[in-house]
Amino acid sequence: MKGWPAVLDSLRRIRAIAGKEVRQLLRDKLTFGMIVGVPLLQVILFGYAINTDVRHLRAGVADLAQTQLSRDLVAEAEASQVVDVVAAAPSAQGLEELLKDGKISVGIYIPPDFDRRAATGSQPAAQLMIDGGDPTLFGVAQGLAQMPLVTRDVPQASKAPLFELRNYYNPERRSAVDIVPALIGVILTLTMVLFTAVAIVRERERGNLELLITTPVSNFELMVGKIWPYILIGLIQVSIVLFLGWLLFSVPVAGSLLDLYLAALLFIAASLGLGLLISTFAKTQFQAMQLTIFTFLPSILLSGFMFPFDGMPKVAQWIGQLLPLTHFVRLVRGVLLRGADLGGMWVDVWPLLVFFALAMTLAVLKFHKRLD
C-alpha cells in the first residue's frame, strides 16, 4: 500500500500469527506429542517390522525319502535362515493339513524317489507347498526353489550360476536401510499435510476466522504466518528420523546433509501446500483429517515406499508421478544411500517445485477470508 511501513506492518502481523501458532502448539499436548511421537513410533515400527527379506518362515517337512541327500536338502534350507523347520508330517496330505491350519507357511515335500529324481534332473526332485495368500511368500519360495543343492554326489548342482548377483548400496539386504530414509517422507506427508490442514480449519471451526476477517490481516499473511512454524516442525522431524535411523539401524548418510535438508524443505513446502489446499475444502477438522488420509494412502502405496515403483502398472506409475512423496523418496534414498547430489537429481526436484507452486496458488485463490 504505502511502501516500506506497510511491508513492516505486514511482517509484524505474520510474526504475530506465527508466534501465536507456536504458543498454541506448545500448549496442545496431543499435537506436540505427535511431533515427536509420530517419527519415534514409525521409525521403530517400520524399521523393525517391515522386513521384505523374509526370514524364519515356519516350515513343515514330509521327508518320505529319508536319505542322506534329503536330509542335506532340509539342512541346506534351514541354513539359509529363510525357513525354520517347526513340524514334520508323514505325508503330503499331512503338510496340507498343517498349511491349512496356519501352523506352517511353507511345506517341503520330499518324495520317496527323491535321490533318483535329483540325480537325473529330469523332473523336480522335491516340492514346495506355500500359503499363496501372502504374495511375498511366493517370491521367497521361488528363491528357495532355485537354491542349488551343494552336494558332492550330484553333478548338476555344482554348475556355476548364470548370473552372479551383487547387491549395491544395501549389501546386507537390510530393509531398514531402504525403509528409514523413505520414512522421512512418509512421516512428513502425514504430519505436515494434517497439521496445516487442521490448523487453518480449526481457526474457522472455532470462530477465530470470523474475527480475523475484520482485521487488517490478509489471506496471504494468515497463510504464511500459520505455515512457517510447521516448516520448523518438519525439519525437527527429519532430524529425529535421521538420528534414530542412524542410531538403531545404522542408516548411512552417504551424501551431504545440506542436500538432504534442502530436499526435505522442498518436500515440506509441497506438503504444506497440499495441507493448505485441503484446508480450503474442509469445513471441519474431521473432514480435514479424512481428506488427509485420502491423499496419504495413495502416497504410501504408489510412491515406491512400499512396492518397487518400476514394478507397478503403468497407470499406477502415472498417478505415482503426481505425488510429491514419490519424488522425495527417490531424492532421499539418492542422497542418503547413494551419496547423490541434488543437482544430479533435477528430474525429481522440479516436480516438487511445480507441485508447491500449484498447490499454493490454488489455495490462496480458493481461500476466502469470508464466513460462508
Binding site: 500500500m1 506492518d9 509484524r12 502481523r13 510474526r15 504475530a16 500469527i17 501465536k20 504458543r23 498454541q24 500448549r27 496442545d28 472455532r206 470462530g207 477465530n208 476466522l209 470470523e210 474475527l211 480475523l212 476477517i213 475484520t214 482485521t215 487488517p216 490481516v217 469470508r370 464466513l371
Partner: protein, 316 residues
C-alpha cells in the same frame, strides 16, 4: 455529511433469487449507540457485513466514516472494531496474549502495546485475569475480554453482533455501561440484537424485518409513534381470551404476558376498550381492558408482523 458515521442509500444484497437486504437507507450519527433490532434472518448480519466491506452490495451505496464501501474496505479495517456473536479469540491463549496479539495485528506502535493492554485490562476489570487462559473465563469475563480486544486500537466505529445473548443480566448491565462510556468518548457503536431490553438502551434504533427497514428512530419516539393502539387485557383465562380476540378483523396481534394480554389494534379503531370488553363478554370472559402506552416489543410486533397477515396467523 461528516456528521454521520454511516450513511446508506438503497443498500441491497441478493443471494440468488433471495433478497436478504432490500433497499435500506440509514443515517447513523457519530458517537451514538445505534441498534439493529430484528428477528433472526431479517438481514441484520448481512447489512453489517456489507458495512464492514466483507460483502459487496448488489445495489445501493454505503459510506462508512467517510469511506466508500466496499472500495475502501482495507483502509477502514483499522478504524473498525468488530465483536462477534460467539467468542472468537483464542481459548488456549491467556488474556494478555490475546490482547497483545490483537495489538500486533492492528499495528499499534510497539512501545504502546504494553501500556494499551494495561489500560484496557484496567478498564474492563481483567487485571486479575491477565494470565488466565481465555477458554477458562466465565461468559461475562469473555465478553469483557472480547470488548477490550475489539477496542484496543481505539476504533471509531464498533460493530457488536448480538453481544450479550449469552450473558447474565448483571454482566449485561456492566457491559452496557462500558458501551456508553465508549460512545461518550466519541465511538460510534452499532449493535445488532433481538433482545428488547438491549434495544431499549440504544440512542437510535432501526427495526429490520425481511430485509427491509420498517421503523427507525429513538426507542421513545418509536414507542410513541407506534402505528397501532395498544390495549392491555387482564383476565383469569388469558389463553381463552386471546383465542376469542384473534378472530376480530381490527385486531392485528395478541401477545400474552403472564396473566395479561397485549392486543394491538388498527390505529383507526374507534372506542377500542368498549369493543374488546364486548368481544370478551360474548365469549363468557370477565376482563379488565384499558389502553396503555406501547412498549418496545409492541413496536417490534407492530412493525415486523403487520404487512403479512397470513404470516402472523401462522406464527400465532
Amino acid at each position: 455529511m461528516a456528521d454521520y458515521a454511516i450513511e446508506t442509500q438503497g443498500l441491497t444484497r441478493r443471494f440468488g433469487a433471495f433478497t436478504a437486504v432490500d433497499g435500506v437507507d440509514l443515517a447513523i450519527p457519530r458517537g451514538r449507540v445505534y441498534g439493529f433490532l430484528g428477528p433472526n434472518g431479517a438481514g441484520k448480519s448481512t447489512t453489517i457485513r456489507m458495512l464492514c466491506g466483507l460483502l459487496e452490495p448488489s445495489a445501493g451505496s454505503a459510506t462508512v466514516l467517510g469511506h466508500e464501501m466496499p472500495r475502501d474496505a482495507e483502509v477502514l479495517r483499522r478504524k473498525l472494531g468488530y465483536m462477534t456473536q460467539n467468542f472468537s479469540l483464542y481459548a488456549d491463549l491467556t488474556v494478555r496474549e490475546n490482547l497483545e496479539f490483537m495489538a500486533e495485528i492492528f499495528s499499534l506502535p510497539r512501545r504502546a502495546v504494553r501500556e494499551r493492554v494495561r489500560v484496557a485490562a484496567e478498564r474492563y476489570f481483567l487485571v486479575d485475569l491477565l494470565h488466565q487462559r481465555a477458554g477458562t473465563l466465565s461468559g461475562g469475563q469473555k465478553q469483557r475480554l472480547a470488548l477490550a480486544a475489539a477496542t484496543l486500537h481505539a476504533p471509531e466505529l464498533l460493530f457488536l453482533d448480538e453481544p450479550t445473548s449469552a450473558v447474565d443480566p448483571q454482566s449485561r448491565r456492566d457491559f452496557w455501561d462500558c458501551l456508553f462510556e465508549l460512545a461518550a468518548a466519541g465511538t460510534t457503536i452499532l449493535v445488532s440484537t433481538h433482545l428488547m431490553d438491549e434495544a431499549e438502551r440504544c440512542h437510535g434504533l432501526a427495526i429490520i424485518s425481511r430485509g427491509k427497514l420498517v421503523a427507525e428512530g429513538t426507542p421513545k419516539a418509536l414507542m410513541e409513534g407506534i402505528d397501532a393502539r395498544v390495549l392491555e387485557v387482564e383476565t383469569p383465562d388469558p389463553h381463552k381470551a386471546s383465542l376469542a380476540l384473534r378472530g376480530e378483523p381490527y385486531i392485528k396481534s395478541v401477545t400474552q404476558l403472564g396473566t395479561r394480554l397485549h392486543a394491538l389494534l388498527k390505529k383507526d379503531t374507534p372506542a377500542p376498550v368498549k369493543k374488546l370488553t364486548e368481544v370478551l363478554h360474548r365469549a363468557g370472559l370477565e376482563a379488565q381492558v384499558q389502553e396503555t402506552p406501547a412498549n418496545l416489543e409492541d413496536v417490534f410486533v407492530a412493525s415486523t408482523s403487520f404487512e403479512g397477515d397470513e404470516r402472523v396467523a401462522r406464527r400465532a
